[in-house]
Structures are given as C-alpha cells and as structure tokens.
Amino acid sequence: MNEHQGAGARQVLSHSSVYSSVFRIPAIPPATSLPPFPRQEPYSLIFDHRLVQTETQLQCAREWRESGSLTPTMAEVAAFVKPKPRPIIRIGLFLISQSLLVSIICCVAGVLALLLLPVLAKNTYISENALMPGSASPMLSSADASDGHIFLNKIMSMDSTSTNTGTEIPEMIGKHIIESGGEVNYHQIQPISDNFHPLQFFLGPDVGIVQENYSCTSYGINTVGIVRAPRGDGKEAIVILTPYNSVKTTTSEALSLGVAYSVFSLLSRVSWLAKDIIWLAADSRHGEHAAVAAWLRDYYALSRGDLEKNQDMCVASSVLGHELTSVQRNGVSNGFRRAGTMAAALVIKVADSSTGFEKDGLKIYAEASNGQMPNLDLINIVNYLAVHGQGLQVRVEKIWSLLDSWWLYSLGELQELLGKVAKSLNPDWKFGIPASDYVEGCATLASSLYNQALGVPTGPHGAFRDFQVDSITLEFSPRFSSSQRVLFLLHVGRLVEGVIRSVNNLLEKFHQSFFLYLMTSPSRFVSVGVYMIAFALLIAPLPLVAAALFSDKLKSGKDDVSLEPSHPGESFPTFTAWNWLHTAKTVLIVHLWGAIVTIIPYFLSQFPNSSPLTNLSMWIASSLVGLFFTCAASGSLSISRASQLQIREWTLLKAVTVTAAFIGLCLMSVINYATAQIGALLLVPMCLMAVPLRIDMADKTMKALLRGACNILLVFAGFPPTAFLMMRGALDSFERVRIDDFWNWTESLRAWNSATYIYICMVHLPCWVLCIRILLLRR
C-alpha cells in the first residue's frame, strides 16, 4: 500500500510538475475527508487555489479513489500540514492578521510624523554652484535709486492730476524705457475664455497657433520693456514683473514700479548681462494673474501682435500709437516682442501696510497652481541675498492663529524636552528645536501645506509656473515713512539686481535643487523624501485592512458554505469568491456619480445672478437626485433587494471602499501631494472606522457605542462643506463663517483649474457616501 501510494504520488508529481512548481498547489482531497484548515489560510490572499479545480487535483482525487482508501496517507498529510510560506508572505499574513493594531499604530505614527516635520526640516543651501549669489558687489547706486524715486513721483503726480484713462502710465513707462535704451511694446490684454482644464498641468498648454475671436474690448495694456544683453545670444531671458493698476495706482504699486525702473535702467547699462531682461509692467485693472497669463499666453503662441502690424481696429491701441509717434518711433512697435526662453521670473510687489519691525520686510510667495513650487534655489538666493546682503527680514506665509495654540506649544515643549534628554545621553544627538521655533515652523508648514493643497497660485507668479518657468513673488513691506523712500529703493533694487545677476550666471535652467518641498521657515525646508513618510504611514493601513476584511469575508463565506446544505462543489465557491465584484460595481457607480457631481456646477453657472447659497443648495439637491437616479438605474443600491445579505456584505463593501480610497489617495499624491496629505487625514480614519451602526447598536457595549459615536463624528467632519467650514472656523473665527463660503471656495478652485476640486468630487465625496452607506446598512 505504501509503495503503491508512493508510486502514485510520484506519478502525480511527474504529471503535474509544471503546475505545482509554479502555483504550489496543495493537493486537496475530497471535501468529506478535509482535514481542518489552519486558521491562517495562507493562500487566500494571493490566489484562491481551492477554487481552481486543476487537472492535478482531479487526478489526485481519482487516484485516491482508485487506491481504495479515502484517507490520505501519511505522505499527503505531511505535505499538507507542513508547507511553510516564504518569510515575506508570512510577514504580510502577520500584518493582515494584526490589521487593527497595525492601522492604529500607522495612523498615529503618520500624524506624529506630520507634526514632527518642523523638527526634521533641514537648512536650505544653494545647490547650484553657478548661481554664486552675492559674489559681485551690487552696482545699483543711489543715483539709480533717486532716478527711480523721480519716476515714482512722476507716476504719483500723474495719478493725482489727470482724469486717468489708463494709457498715461504705460506711455510714460514706455518713454522711460526707450530713454534708457530698451525696446518697448504694448500688449493688449485679451480676456482668457473661461474653460475648465483640470488636467492642464498634466498636458501642458496647447501649442496654440492663433487665438480665435479677437475682440476690441481691451482689458488693459501691459507695457513690456526689453533690454537685450549686449553680448548675449538672446536665447534666454529673465522677467521682472510689476503689477499695477493703471487707473488707480497706489503708492505701493508706484514704489514697485520705481524699483523695477531703477533696476531696469541699471541693467540697460551694464555689460555683464548674458540673458535678456524683460520688464513687464502688467496692468492689473482686471486682476494681476489675468494680465500676466494673457501676456504669457501670447508669448507662447502666435499672437495677434505677430500677425497684425497695425491694430487699428481697436481704439485704445490707435490712440496709443498716435501718442507715441511723438516720443520716438525707434524702438516702439505694436508687434509682440519676445526674448527667448524664460529662465526665471521675479514678481515685485510692495505691501500697502508697513511692518512694525525694525527692518524692511520681505515676504516670499512661491506656490503656483496645483501645488507646484519653483526650484528651491530661487528662494534660496532671494533669502540669502535679502538676509546677508540687504538686511531685510524675510518671511514666508504662516497661519497666524496657530501661533498661539496651546497644544502646539506644549507639543513643542515636549519635543524640546526629548531633545534635551537625548542630548544629555549623547551629545551627538541633536534633534529638538526650541518650542517657539517649533510652533512657528508648524504654522508656516501648515500654511505651506494648505496653499499647496488648494492648488490656487498665491500670486501672479503662478502663471509662469504653468509654462515651466520658475518664479516667485517678492512682497516688500517698507518700514519707513515716505522720507526714506530712496533708501528703500536702494535696498530693494540691490536685492533684485543681485538675484538677477545670480540667475544671469546660471548656464543651465534651474534643476539642481528641490522642486517638491514644504517650507517651515524662509531658511528651512522639508524635502519630499521626508514628508512622504507621514503620508505613507497614513495610507499604509488601507490595503492591509482591505486585505484583512476580504480574507475574513472569504472565511465567513466558507463558513456559510459549510453551514448551508447545498451542493458544496458546484457554484457556491464561485459566488463567495467573486462576490466582491458585485460590491466593486457599487463602488464604481458611486464614483461615477462623483464625476456627475463634478460637472453639475457648470450647468449651475449658466444661470446668472444666482446667489452662492442657492447655487450650493441646488448643487447638493441635484447631487442627491443624481445619486438616487444612478442607484436606481443600476439597481445596485436598491434597498429592497438582498437586504438580508447586505449586512453580511458590509465587510466586503468596506474592503472595496478602502481600496478605492487608497487608489484615489495614491493617485492624488502623485498630482498634488499636499491635497493627498490633507485628504488622507480626513479620509483614512473615516474609512477605517466605518462599521454599520446596527452592529454597534446591537452590541450595546461601551466600546461599540463609542465606536458608533466616533463614526458619526468622523462622517460629519468628512463631509466636504462641513470640513471646509470647520477648518475656516478653527483658523479664523466661527462668527464670520458663512455657508455660502463653500460655494465660493469651490468656484475659485474650479476657476483656477485646481486638481483639488476633482479630488474632492471624485475621490473624497464617493468615499464619504460609501462610508455612510456602510454605516446605514440594515440587518
């Protein structure tokens, strides 16, 4: 018998060596003689082999039957009990079995890692050697600064005296540019048609050849002055941008124009230029960003200015052209002037309010659309030159309300204490920063994260980033009274000159330093390698929990099989295994509904003159109707059908929901990390906690009730409008929060083509609905 069996086994082996070596299928005897499966089913995750009735197994069974005994012999059983999965699989199985603990640890660690980021931030350093900031002494003299001051006074007097039509200042700027030896052209701003291109950042702007439907309604006139580098080859250019309102110019705008003029007139004389300099005085009558974006769009396309020599059709330009003949025809043209590939752009602004500090202030804005940042080197040189060269006080934006939050301060003190303890143990261990620094870093980090997550540029520099040009906005806040303007112009002008000289030194485009980073102070940053940890820890439990739920479901499904007296071998295993497809269909339909929700506001925006509140309520109502209809049409969520089954199916539904959330968050982290991070903070606990309320109610233990309450709270907080309003309230004050802010907010996201909008509607909202669905499942 033994021999016979051995021969049989060998025969099996020879027949099935290929299959078994690849799949390593345990031979399964007929169901009646099943030995008890080990509690941890090894292969359920990877491949449900029991369902695959391969040739081998059938043959095995046949041979057993032939051998006359239904009991498998020693060899088979030994082989069945023993196989030890590979360590990596065992680790996976262990993690899945401990998914609750793992997910708690991971989530807590993720939040902690996020809070630790200010501690882990590194000092910035200039990575590109060619920049050499501050290696040359500034050439801008006080004579240049006083020239700028005279220019400023002219603008101010012009603004106060005449009835301004918006053409005087461009004309005067043009005149000055020509006098200093530059070339001028005037660019008429055309409104950009309001199209929704959420994937524009991904595909890049079209290679537009000509703009269609050109209209004469002018939205202002940009003045463009160009200094050609005397010995340069004209392949590259640096842009100085000063937005100003041509109808009503404020003192601060005039100051920024004065700075730009003094720098420009200096640069037209210097001999070290290798790149051309473009000074764009953008008419911000109808928005800074619109003016800049219109100019950039024309710069990168065959624009009207290239095609038409005389734009006589439009009154404004003909007036302009007429006035300019008196100045000097040489150098002024209506045609569009270009100056090669842009290497960098600096936006110069002066804040209206003066600082209360000792020094002049400088605030750096860098976030462009969809969380894109300029190269860190650009911020570094500005920071370096401002601090070490001109003695300005550099700041980046921060959320002020976080500065006096007690819990952040105590956290800071805690980490300071830990740092001290570590240092006392080993003086080489240096971590931990002063608590006040920590709080400030946190506030800056939060602002950086929020601005990136929003996906809306924080200034006109955002328009450049859409064309892969590194740019930042420098907002200066003078401390003076008006008497010290020349000094201010001197300092700021020298800073701008230094930055331009650095960029001018650059042979290649910015590529050395980081593009993905968060700022915690002007001189400290967190790079992508560090901040991804927090996000990875947060979303790591999602696939684990999904796998755990799925394997649990399979197990319980198998229990069902054994309980029910139906034919075991035929259709039932297929049902349990592929059941998840059914739930996946539900999830897919809800996500489809999310896509419908995304486009509803376009139809709503067709109705003019409707208040934000009505729009918002219309949106919610139509979304609800849409949800009802999609569900009815698909029949997947209909309550009548299979309601008995569904309470058992909730684990499956949750598994698929969690998987969908995981995929959505991962995708979003590629597009915009900050959105994914904030979204994960909201979404991960909500998805992980979701358990049908009925089960909690039935359980009646303290733990279950607590869980139910948590679930309700999380779902309440996870609803996008409430999340938004709560955040607003927490950061600002609850009195000023209004419901219709949310509509305005989403409207702005949509207008700026932010991917965050897509994320909210197509990832967050469907997951939220599915969580509610899980909570409300009936028994």
Binding site: L13, P205, G232, E308, G335, G340, E508
Partner: protein
Amino acid sequence: MSRLESCLLMFLALCSVTQSINVEELNEEFTESLLLRPLPDRKVLAHFHFRSSAPPSKTYGRHHHIFPKSIYQLVHKFQVREMELSFTQGRWNYERWGGFDPISSSNAKPPGVELWAEFDVPQDQVDESWKNLTHALSGLFCASINFLEHSTSYSAPQWSFGSASGKLRYGTLPREAVCTENLTPWLKLLPCRDKAGLSLLMDRPSIYRGYYHSQRLHLKSDEFGASEMSTGMVLEQTLTVVLRPDTFSGKALQPSWSLSSLFGRSVSRKCSLSSSSNVYAQFEQNLLFEGDKLKEDREALENAISVGDGFEDNPLFELSLAPKRVIKESGNLQKAGSILYEFSVEDSNEFKPFDLGLNWKVPVAWSCPQAPLQASRFLLGSGNERGAIAISMKSTRSNNVERTSSYDENECWLRVGIFQMVPWYVKVYYHTLKLFLDGEPQSSMENIEKILVSPSEDKVSTGVLEMILRLPCSVNTAALTLEFDKGFLHIDEYPPDANQGFDIPSAVIHFADFVANMSFHDDSLKQVPILSKLQEEVPVVSYTEVLLVPLTTPDFSMPYNVITITCTVFALYFGSLLNALRRRVGEEERLLNGKGARKAGPLTLMISKLSAKLRGKKWEPPKQSESGRSSSKYKLLAKVVLVAGVAAAWQFYFQ
C-alpha cells in the same frame, strides 16, 4: 592682305594688352581699410577690411610673400573653391543698425561660428573634404569647428548659399564662445599682424567690450577651374564691431568720439606691405537728409547763402581731419545716397598718429535703412513634449520704395527665401507648415514658389527646409509655423550642461530681388577693394535669432540612485522567478516528510504506524510539543534583543 595684317596687328595688340594685365595681376597684394559709421542708437560701427590676394599658382608658383601659407595649403589640400568662416559674439540689431546695406548683409552673422564651404572635388568626395576642412580650421583657429564634422551638424543647402552646385556644405555652432584666442590666429594671417597698420587699433578689451563682434574670413579661389583666366586666391578678412563711445555728452546729443576714445589706441604707422590703407567715415542717407533739412531750416532762418557740399560747414557734425576725398553714392531718384569721407593713414607717424574724431553739433535722430521684411523667429508652446517654430516677418514699409526692379502695383511680388536647418532631435513635421499673411491662414502652395525639404534622419542627418515664398508687396505681416516633437537622446549624446537646452541654428532669410550695394559714379573707385566690395551686388540677407529648445534631460546627478533602484527591481524579479522555477514542491514535501520521520525516530514511527493500522484509525504524525516551539521562539527573540542591545551599546559608548 592689308586687312589680314591689320587683323594680326589687332590680335597682337590685344595679346600684349592681356599680357600686360597679367603682369599687373601677377603680384600679391594686400590692402587694409577701416570703415566707421555712426549708428542711430549712440553707437559706432567699425568695419575692418583686409584683403590679400595671390595670383594663381599655375603661373606664380607656390611661394608667397604676403599671402598666408596656411590658407594656401588649405585651399590646395581640400580644393576649396569658396569658403566663409565667421566668429560672432552678440547679435546684430537689424532694427536699429539697419539691414539693407552691404555691410549688414554680408557681415551680420549668427552668434557663434558659421562655416560654409564649396569644394572643387567630385560629388562623392565633398563630405570627406568637409570633414577634413573642419578639422584643419579647428586647429587653425583654436575653435571647436571639428564638431561640424558629424553629419548631424551640417547640411548641404541646394540654392540658399552661393551656387547651386551641390558641393556646398553649411554648418553652425551657435554655442561657440568667441574670444581672443580666435582673434590671434586670425591676425596671424595678416602680413603685419597687429604690429602695424589699422590692426593696431584692435585693442582686445575694447573690441570685445562692444555690442557686436564678428570676425569673418572669406576665401575665394578659382585655382582648380578649367578656365585660363583665373584670378588666383582672394582672402578677405573682416572684423565688424559695434562700440559705444564712452564719452558722455548729455542725453540728447549723440556722443562724440575719436579713434583713440573708441579703441583706446590710435594708428601710428601704416602696414608697409599694404598697397593702400584708408579709413572711411560713412554717413547714411537718412542722416544726411536730416542734415539737409536742418541746413534748409537754418538757411531759411538766416537767409545765408549755402557754401556748397564741403564738409566743414556740415550743420550736424564736424570731423577732426580733412578728408582726402569725398565719395558720394549715386542714389536713386528719391534720395541722395550716403557719403563716404576717405582718409589715408599714410602720412601718420609715431609723433603724429592718425586719430580721426567726430564731434556732433546738434542732437539728431535718424533711422537706418531696413530690409523689406524684418524677421524674427520664436518657439511656440511649452513643455517637454512638443512645440512649434514660428518665423514672423513684418513689413518695414521700405519694400515699395527701395525696390530695384520696376514693378506694377498689381503684379508686385516679394520673393523671400528661407533656409532653416533643424537638428534631428527636434522632429519637425513638415506637413504642418502653415503660412499666415496679414493674419489670414493661407493654403501654403499658392505662395510657395519653390520648396525643398530634406527630413532629418535620427542620429544621421539634420533636417533642412529651403523655400522661396512669393508674397504680395502689400503684405504687412507674414508668419510661418512648423510643429515639432521633441526627441530623446541617448545618454551619451547629451552635451555638457545638457539642462541648458538645445539650440536650433539661426534661419537665414534672404530677399533675392533686393541687392544691397552702393553705386558710385567714379569707376576708378573699383580699384579700392573695400569700395568694390561695397559696390558688389549681394542679396539682402538677415539671420534670425538662435532658439533654445528645452528637451527632457535625465538627472545625471543621480546615477547611483538609478542603478540602485534598477538593481533592486531586477534582483527582486529574478530572485522570485528563479525561486519559483527551481522549486520542486513534491521534493520539498518528501524532504519535510523525511525530516519529520527522522525526528520522531524510525522505530517509533513504524510502531505508531503499525498500531494505527491495527486499530484501523487515522494515523497522526507525532506533534512537536508546543512548549518546545515556544521556547525556540523565545530563544530567537532573546537573540534578536541581545544583538540589538549590543548594537545600541556600541553606538552609545563608542561614538
């Protein structure tokens, strides 16, 4: 008979005349001259012109006194028929410095190095000669001209340059930096170098400080022609610089200058080997027109009698020296031509150096004559995937006035030739060629008179577009667009500083119907090389800007990371694959089984089996005791803790 005699006499006379001419030509000659011209934007153009010529070596032999030997050898080795090499720094500002005069047409060059050469060899040896020539020139001029030897960097234009023989090759290096190390070998070709003569003025800091610097070498030889009437070799060396006088003269007045203030030096002696060394000061017709206007005004004001065309009473400016002669261009009907004042440096010496100066009297503004269309070229679109090249041409309103041939209002056409060379990694789709006239898209074929496209081949050849557009004279703007995809280079094809981007060489725009020449009444002026050069009929040519295309560039600074991650992925993949392949599950099972049996001991196993059989029960393998397993687990844990503890202690105490 007498008739025959007279014929014979005539023939003899003719022969003697030709012989005498030959005898005249049989000498090597060197001339030098300098042309100065004030530019409207307070700058001064200085154009040095050196010409050395040698008679054909068939008659003259191979030994030269003046003509540089290296050039002679170059010509003979590679059988060069015509060649032009230019080193340029900066851009010629067509808008301000003009684009319609002979100097700008032949001396405004694209930044970097431009080389074209025509060979007198069979068609199949042309490429070979070109490659050798580039290497020879590279050594001669200390420049990286040898990079032009790759077939991906030069092209064979059919009709845009020189003759349409098909033996011409053209290449540019837009990124080549130009410096004194290129000037010194160039000066070595002059018989007096920069020790005497006009080249004394070439003070390196001053000429490299300028706004435009173009050093050019043009070589022409018909040594290898079949005709007997060969003129030998002619080498023309020109240096064109645009300088800004340092003298401060208020905001309105043009700055006054002198040679010593411009160059920091002055000419103390002429090059004794040169047959003529002249300095010319040129004043353009528009400037003179302003002067005339001013003069008329003044006359009207003062009722004074005009004193004539003498230069002393010129209301605009004053020259410090008296000119040897005044040469007037015979202008066309509308306007008078420009004026050249000739000065000779012959009688200058150490104590009385030649130092020409110009003083402006009144503020004046004028503009230079422009080419019929002003061309500019730029890139459309952004991103690393695709883009478009656009060439936009704007009318300067001079085409109707300055046109040489008579024209009819209706049948007036402007012929514009465009030559564009595109490197292969910029994959141009020539079918996307679009033409816009005054903003209206045209069906291209109507306005294209002639077009020749040779598409690029990856890593083999450049793409070349040659076309002649026929535009109506009344056109205001014309724009041409070509779309392209950006290609990928192999990792070792990236040049240093790859992140800068890649250059598309300048396009060449030429106006075949327009010739930029000056015509003088006096035919004797043809004897002076620079003046004959100015009278030469050259088509109006302008170069567009060099374009910088950013391509996708690998992160060269991270090869380690890339290698590491690739190796990890490979290791994981192959490891698991091999593991799966070489595993024999059955064998393992048997092995495990055997192990289990051995553990229990063969005897006890046998006994238990036997007893199980006897009892008719299922035999169960002996189980390992739980305690044993847990104890082994603890052992493992203890080991791990021990190792970790040792490591921590090590870290703590030994750092």
